[in-house]
């Protein structure tokens, strides 16, 4: 359906329900939808499951959302970083649940959700604690573990430029999880640095086609 071009980040995150699963793009700060997360904090949804590569850095963005007690559960590959003190404290106090997923499996599980795949046999993590309790199978001489899709109610992602239809292009390694998350959530919200007229993006270079994007908002970001 036609993309909603929002006037600000608050409009872009309106209506996110308590209990939602929110996919949050970015790898470190590259591609991180900071303004959308800030707006989500103002919006107030709680009891969230957040799916993201990391679990917040410093005291802003995802870390601030966690610090407000809005997040029940984090699904990520790498929560522990030198500046992940907010998550660390909540985790040690037993106030947040954690599911650690290998980074490529995290991406592939979201891709499966977006691609209508019910489950897939993945070689990553076989024989490790992260495969404990999971179904395994030997196929053609190699052992695989069965992994299930991760679907979001909402995806918050950062992209570089959108056209007014909602087609997205990214910039350098800020692309990371954005294109995958855009396929895997019911409502996809993208913050972008620029919105151009429909037709201004080369159709060969569009990374996320408009069909995946529900709301776009231009935010002021350096670079």
């Amino acid at each position: 359906m036609t993309v909603q071009v929002c006037t600000d980040a608050d409009e872009a995150v309106a209506g996110i329900s308590d209990g939602s699963t929110v996919l949050v793009g970015g790898f470190g700060m590259a591609g991180m939808p900071v303004e959308l997360i800030d707006a989500l904090i103002r919006q107030g949804a709680s009891d969230l499951t957040v799916v993201s590569n990391n679990a917040g850095n410093g005291d802003t963005g995802l870390a601030a959302l966690l610090a407000k007690g809005r997040v029940r559960r984090v699904v990520c590959s790498f929560p522990r970083q030198s500046d992940s003190w907010v998550f660390d404290r909540l985790y040690r106090e037993g106030r947040i649940q954690l599911e650690v997923v290998p980074q490529g499996t995290l991406a592939e599980r979201m891709r499966a959700a977006g691609a209508g795949i019910g489950a897939f046999f993945c070689p990553t993590g076989v024989g490790t604690p992260l495969a404990e309790g999971k179904e395994t199978r030997e196929i053609d001489g190699r052992t695989y573990v069965l992994e299930y899709p991760i679907k979001g109610d909402v995806a918050l992602i950062g992209a570089h430029t959108a056209d007014r239809m909602g087609n997205l292009v990214y910039r350098k390694t800020a692309r990371n999880f954005g294109p995958v998350m855009a396929t895997a959530a019911t409502t996809v919200v993208a913050q972008v640095r620029d919105i151009v007229e429909t037709g201004a993006l080369d159709p060969e270079t569009v990374v996320t086609p408009s069909i995946y994007v529900d709301r776009i908002v231009r935010t002021e970001v350096a670079v």
Binding site: T2, I117, N167, T183
Partner: protein, 228 residues
């Protein structure tokens, strides 16, 4: 869409022509939908989408926002639709490869898919890829992917085969394309909504409901305005 969702009978006119059927399908596609039009008759639906419909066409060979068929001077061998007919692109188009294109389809991102059919069962089973003839060479293309992928699957077909047998049936006799996947059937004589309980008649053309029901052998009910 039939605005009241109560049965409308049009017995005082003839059955729908192919272009009229296409126009009615086009009318029922919501504004701004992402739509895949199957090869053959469904392709005609594009010609009946009003200006400003906001409908974006997908072709499974890797393009969103496909434009009309190419005029002779626009033909580009690198740009075709799924029927291998030269087409054009519209502003806001995007190209992608086959795995991404069918991920889009299979993942349920398209709003509507319009397909032809040999047979449809009243509960939405679709048979449109194989006549079951013993000497036929099987060829499925994207039919099975399309059948199960879109949020809504519309079928366009004549209601009766050339031998007079109905194509809306209790159970498909031809090999299936998909199970319980068809939401609506648009035919020359009537349009139907399908569901687990059977077929609901939304509108008739050149025939009344009772005559129609007498010619079909499926669980059938008239639309009564209840919410869909």
């Amino acid at each position: 869409m039939n605005p009241t969702d109560s049965l409308v009978e049009n017995p005082g006119r003839g059955p729908l022509g192919k272009d009229e059927m296409a126009a009615i399908v086009a009318r029922d596609i919501p504004h701004g939908s992402y739509v895949n039009l199957g090869i053959g008759q469904p392709t005609r639906v594009a010609d009946h989408l009003p200006d400003g419909s906001g409908v974006v066409l997908h072709t499974e060979n890797g393009l969103l926002n496909m434009g009309p068929a190419a005029k002779p001077d626009e033909v580009d061998p690198d740009l075709t639709n799924a029927g291998k007919i030269p087409v054009t692109e519209l502003p806001g188009a995007a190209y992608f490869h086959h795995a991404d294109s069918f991920a889009m389809m299979r993942g349920g991102h398209l709003d509507v898919c319009v397909l032809g059919a040999f047979q449809v069962s009243a509960t939405g089973d679709l048979a449109n890829w194989h006549t079951g003839a013993p000497d036929a060479i099987p060829a499925v293309g994207g039919a099975m992917d399309l059948a199960i992928g879109a949020k809504k699957v519309f079928v366009m077909m004549s209601l009766f085969a050339k031998d007079g047998s109905p194509k809306l049936v209790r159970e498909c006799g031809y090999p299936l394309t998909g199970l319980g996947c068809v939401d609506r059937v648009y035919t020359d004589l009537a349009t139907f909504r399908l569901g687990p309980e059977g077929a609901t008649v939304l509108e008739t053309f050149g025939i009344g409901y009772d005559d129609l029901a007498a010619r079909l052998d499926v669980p059938l009910a008239p639309a009564n305005g209840a919410p869909r």
